[in-house]
Amino acid sequence: MISVRSLSKRHGEREVLVGVTATVERGETIAIVGPSGGGKSTLLRCLNYLEGFDAGEVEIAGLALRPGMAGGDPALRRLRTRVGMVFQQFNLFPHLTALDNITLAPRVVKRASRGDAEAAARELLGHVGLADRAGAYPHELSGGQQQRIAIARALAQQPDVMLFDEPTSALDPEMRDDVMEVIRGLAGAGMTMLVVTHEMQFAHDIASRVWVIDRGTIAEDGPPAQVVDQPRTAVAREFFSRIRRA
């Protein structure tokens, strides 16, 4: 489903990604962990080309990405209907209701009729446990509710892959469970997902594999029982021990 080869990116002098190579099979859930500033979010954002990269190749959901693609490239728009993204700060559209947030992309990009888009949106609202908040505006919703709407919004495009960029980091602890529950449900339903997270227990429970990313490379890649419980690299060992102390 996803194949990354020798992906490199630099911000001026600083190398953010250094020749990252990895593959993800259909239905896998990858938890991406590692110290701050290691390149986790950048890798994720390169996968749907919210950020460009300097060298390497990405194949994702049947589309090839290469360095230097233009922002308005139709291939990128096709890509983004196949790859959904959920942000740390939700980024719901404040001028639209929950329902309209979800139906905007299907109606504008896929030219779905209002009726079809709204029927699908109401079903998704049910999945994320917010069937009764269709008419609410983002500022009337709690953070956890907003993030669940944001997940429904991404799912409305019927993507093959979902990217989650620290989806629970901006939430109070009691709100995180609802959001994690939704993500867990998606994993159970066979969605291919990459989740950047600091929740080790969550990573441990739902991930088929865990990537430890440090200084622009994947330092360790394996099932959680191996990577989290018995890390082989010094970087991973230090990272997990610091997390446990905290």
């Binding site: 308005g72 096709r78 983004r80 209907t81 942000f87 905007l104 992309a105 944001a150 919004r153």
Partner: protein
């Protein structure tokens, strides 16, 4: 005596504060004491009245300058000209800002009711100017025609008596003839001094002045009611100048001496045209307010899309596109809208012959577009980056992101400054009177002169502006409340 002068000076200072109409007697004695007579005039009246000497920049010259120097010499004092807007000369005289008026003041019956008038020093003739191919032979052929003139002139009064309130009213001497040549009017009625110098000249080969005097009138000096002895002294000086030929010499120097000066003096404009508040006046004001509202709404409807396109170009455009938008904004924001209106209406007349309303809407709209652009740019920049990222991540194209995500949010942020701009535009629309559109402010100044009072027309005008702007502010406030649900302020 010193006390009288001090009191006069003091009341001149406070006169503007509405202290009523002070009695300014004893001016002749004060003039002799000072050794100087001050006279009010307006350099804007131009050649040959009072104007800046082209050979000696900074010095004024003109037949009235020479006339006053001669009159002063005969009174044994010096003369000093004081610059005032022509339309304010009479109220300023009454307030005591200067001793007399000597600047193309026409002797009319209703002016005589208000101030003392000296004997005439010049006889002028109202002259009709038309295009060379025109059928018009006299002032009585003008029914249904478009006629240009200047406000507050005898010519304007004549046209009003004959045809009612139909004249197109200009501010400067040149513009009526420019529009006549361009076919925007059919005739111009003004006195022969202006017609000879600005109308039937080599620079207007397509215009001719009809040889018949439509009417004659006289220029006189204006003196305060309380100063009959000053009038007597001035009349004496003028009579002596007429006898010994000095008046003829001065007028001759400016090519103003003609047969009219020695013929029987014409009677004064007899109709008393001073008017009160009546249904017609209110109707005219309401019609003018409608013009103001229509101009403002149309101009704003143009300014909003122009501003939106410029803002998007400046924020998201490529370097040349953004540069062009910036150039446009700086150009239109950095030069006076008055100048832009002049260029549009008169400057480009040979290329595109715009009607006054079209020129006004276009000028105001293009100008305000530059201001709107900066408002929208600020609003676009205030939207968090996450919004366009989320939109792109959902597969929306750049244009779709702009239309569905960014512009609706920018609009909510821009609404308060847009309301501000619209109210400001409503008032700035008064500038279009320079291209002879009669809107609310222009109507007010015309009525003020007709009624010899600024108070009632001023209040009526202010009330109408408020009546226009307040409902619009209220509408915007409601729109804001509906749109900006999540932007209501928290308590501090």
């Amino acid at each position: 005596m010193a006390l009288v002068i001090a009191a006069g000076a003091a009341s001149a200072l406070i006169g503007g504060c509405g202290a009523g109409e002070p009695e300014h007697g004893g001016t002749l004695a004060a003039i002799r004491q000072r050794g100087e007579i001050t006279w009010g005039g307006d350099v804007q009246g131009g050649e040959p009245y009072v104007y800046e000497d082209p050979d000696h920049p900074g010095q004024i010259t003109g037949f009235e300058v020479d006339l006053m120097a001669a009159v002063a010499r005969r009174l044994g004092v010096r003369a000093r000209m004081v610059q005032y807007a022509w339309s304010n000369l009479v109220p300023s005289l009454e307030r005591g800002d200067f001793d007399i008026i000597a600047n193309g003041l026409e002797a009319t019956a209703d002016r005589r009711q208000r101030i003392l008038l000296s004997d005439p020093y010049f006889v002028y003739a109202e002259t009709l100017t038309v295009r060379t191919d025109s059928e018009v032979r006299s002032v009585f052929d003008l029914a249904g025609k478009r006629i240009g003139t200047l406000n507050q002139t005898y010519a304007y009064d004549i046209l009003r008596m004959l045809y009612g309130d139909v004249a197109k009213v200009y501010e400067g001497n040149e513009e009526p003839y420019l529009d006549l040549e361009l076919g925007r009017t059919d005739a111009v009625l003004l006195d022969n001094i202006i017609a000879d110098r600005y109308g039937c000249t080599a620079s207007h080969p397509r215009l001719k002045c009809l040889p018949y005097d439509v009417a004659r009138g006289t220029y006189v000096m204006g003196i305060r009611k309380a100063d009959p002895e000053l009038k007597q002294a001035l009349d004496g000086a003028l009579a002596a100048m007429r006898r010994d030929g000095e008046l003829a010499r001065i007028l001759g120097k400016y090519k103003l001496w003609d047969a009219r000066q020695t013929e029987a003096l014409p009677s004064e404009g007899n109709a008393n045209l001073a008017r009160g508040v009546d249904g017609d006046l209110v109707r005219q004001f309401v019609a003018a307010a409608w013009v103001t509202l229509m101009l403002s709404v149309l101009a704003f409807l143009l300014a909003v899309p122009v501003g939106a396109v410029l803002a998007v170009a400046r924020v998201y455009g490529s370097a040349p596109v953004a540069g062009f938008a910036r150039l446009y904004i700086e150009l239109f924001r950095g030069t006076p809208v008055l100048l832009q209106l002049f260029v549009l209406y008169y400057g480009l007349a040979q290329v595109v012959n715009l009607g006054p309303v079209e020129a006004a809407v276009l000028g105001l709209g293009l100008n305000y577009g530059a201001y709107e652009a900066e408002v929208y740019r600020g609003a676009l920049l205030a939207i968090p980056r996450g919004q366009s990222e989320a939109s792109r991540a959902l597969g929306l194209a750049p244009v779709q992101t702009l239309w569905h995500v960014l512009l609706p949010q920018a609009l909510r942020l821009a609404l308060p400054p847009m309301t501000n701009d619209f109210v400001s535009l409503l008032k700035d629309s008064s500038l279009v009177s320079v291209i002879a559109v009669i809107e609310l402010t222009k109507r007010m100044t015309i009525a003020a002169v007709d009624m010899r009072s600024w108070l009632v027309p001023g209040l009526l005008c202010a009330a109408l502006y408020l009546a226009l702007s307040f409902p619009l502010s209220e509408l915007a406030r409601r729109l804001e409340r509906r749109l900006a649900r999540d932007q209501r302020p928290l308590a501090l």
